[in-house]
Symmetry: C2
């Protein structure tokens, strides 16, 4: 039957279904939770934070697609069928993450929060700021998203450094890698941008010890953090402590240890924190559905799936 | 004697003097208002909003340099000596204007002010936003600053349109020109960026009639304005009225009819307005002083001055 199972939790699950229906009206669709039917017919599952165990009865499953950049939500399922898990690598998603990183790097660089405060107080005062060429944005994670963000930041005039698990070469970017390269990377970084996936190695990486290693005498009056990767990478109590004691000058967070962020969290009201609701790379469902359907079409024509996750590595 | 007169009003006049002293310690400097001396010795004047009439006694003046991108502050002097007036065209200044335009275009595009409000109210909600490729940023003024901003915006993924007095060709940009091209330019524009100089033709150009011609059914839920050119171009009461009646969704203003902006202005407190204190392209004095000294050196070696203003045109 080669049916597609759509198992998406989140604000707009019906938007995904609508796009599949429009683009492949002839294809049998199964929809979690209302229209599951006989799961033996399901060949492909397109998922986002689906409940653990729901893919187990899909005895003829050929591939699992994540509709977001992360795949950690898939591997939390202890009964995951042993089929390829495919990450989404899509220009639309990549471009949106680039917008987010550029916007928030510039907000820190151009002291936008200080100007917001001045506006509330009707104060006309210029805060002398450095040229972008005096500021280093350090990107953790040099995959497709990190490389695109690096390219945009370089074009604007920033110095860009990059850190990744394995050695990488990116034009115009000073690259560092592995545990051995981390301290030198942090020591050169004024604005730290985290785009790392959720893995055992990245869990809890952004803690007080790491934040203390960022460039202390940089031209922004203190280092800033942007996390648009995964909330599991950050220790939120350490970020708050670092903001309070001046280790960090500011933080922009799109991801959190638990999402949605609890109304109790002190991050919401901290004057040095900007919060966005995990929307940095939120893509138009239409663009991502087209991308997945193109993969399925190529696969059914005998081609190989692209962007298959290395389960050992976790991304 | 070939002395240089530095006549700069503003927050940090002494910073300019310091850079001249460091870079050309052997050159005779005259400083307004404290150390004017015999003005017959002055060959070059580097000015920013100097009081009218102060250049009149400079009988041997060879050139006047503006230390900012605008030159309108010079032509307000009815007794201006008839010597070349030189605009500053400097990479540092151009890059900073590019940062400003990108930052504020992205703030409108990514609904940053809506997220700021949500953060204050601890609301976790994604506001579905268009891809940059569905949004047109329209730039008025296609000189060095406008072309650089256009290039950065295109790179991020925006559609870019441009409008100028005379026909221009810019790669990847839909260009319009003159009074005849204005309406079509506005009808395609979601985010209007004004980088126009102050001239008789631009005075009062951004009024209610113009704002009503912006694209009404665009993907941002209404058009936005960014003015980083000159305050004389805008009618502030019309901008306020357009924000109040929904003609404009938001406005970012770096320049004003009168500067500093009066504490009485309703712009300070309007929830749809972002105000910055004419710092969009505020450059490091060191970079601009080097630029002017390079011009003087070339001129004294027999070369021609670059970026001389056409007095008729006003820029």
């Amino acid at each position: 039957m080669n049916a597609i199972l759509i198992a998406v939790t989140g604000p707009e699950p019906e938007a995904w279904v609508r796009h599949f229906r429009t683009l492949v009206p002839q294809r049998e669709l199964r929809i979690f939770p209302a229209h599951m039917g006989d799961l033996d017919d399901v060949a492909y599952a397109c998922v986002w934070k689906a409940p653990p165990g729901i893919l187990r009865p899909c005895s003829n499953l050929k591939a699992i697609f994540s509709i977001g950049a992360g795949v950690d939500h898939i591997f939390t399922d202890p009964n995951l069928p042993d089929v390829p898990v495919v990450r989404i690598v899509d220009d639309d998603l990549t471009m949106r993450m680039g917008e987010y990183v550029v916007l928030h790097a510039l907000m820190h660089h151009r002291f936008q929060r200080a100007y917001d405060t001045q506006q509330r107080e009707r104060i006309w005062r210029e805060n002398r700021q450095p040229a972008a060429s005096a500021v280093t944005v350090g990107i953790m994670g040099l995959g497709v998203l990190g490389r695109h963000a690096a390219d945009l930041l370089r074009h604007i005039g920033f110095r860009v450094a990059g850190w990744s698990r394995t050695p990488q070469t990116v034009e115009g970017v000073s690259t560092f890698h592995g545990a051995g390269g981390l301290d030198d990377f942090l020591a050169t970084t004024d604005i730290l941008v985290c785009l790392l996936p959720r893995t055992a190695e990245t869990t809890g990486l952004i803690d007080m010890a790491l934040l203390r290693k960022l460039r202390r005498d940089g031209p922004l009056g203190g280092p800033c953090l942007i996390n648009a990767g995964r909330g599991s990478t950050q220790i939120e109590k350490d970020i708050l402590a670092a903001l309070d004691d001046g280790t960090l000058k500011g933080a922009t967070l799109d991801v959190f240890e638990a999402e949605p962020l609890s109304p109790e969290s002190r991050l919401w009201t901290h004057p040095k924190v900007t919060i966005t609701p995990h929307n940095a790379a939120a893509s138009a469902p239409g663009a991502l559905v087209k991308n997945m359907l193109a993969q399925i079409e190529r696969f059914e024509a005998g081609g190989a799936l692209q962007n298959v996750v290395d389960r050992q590595r976790g991304y």
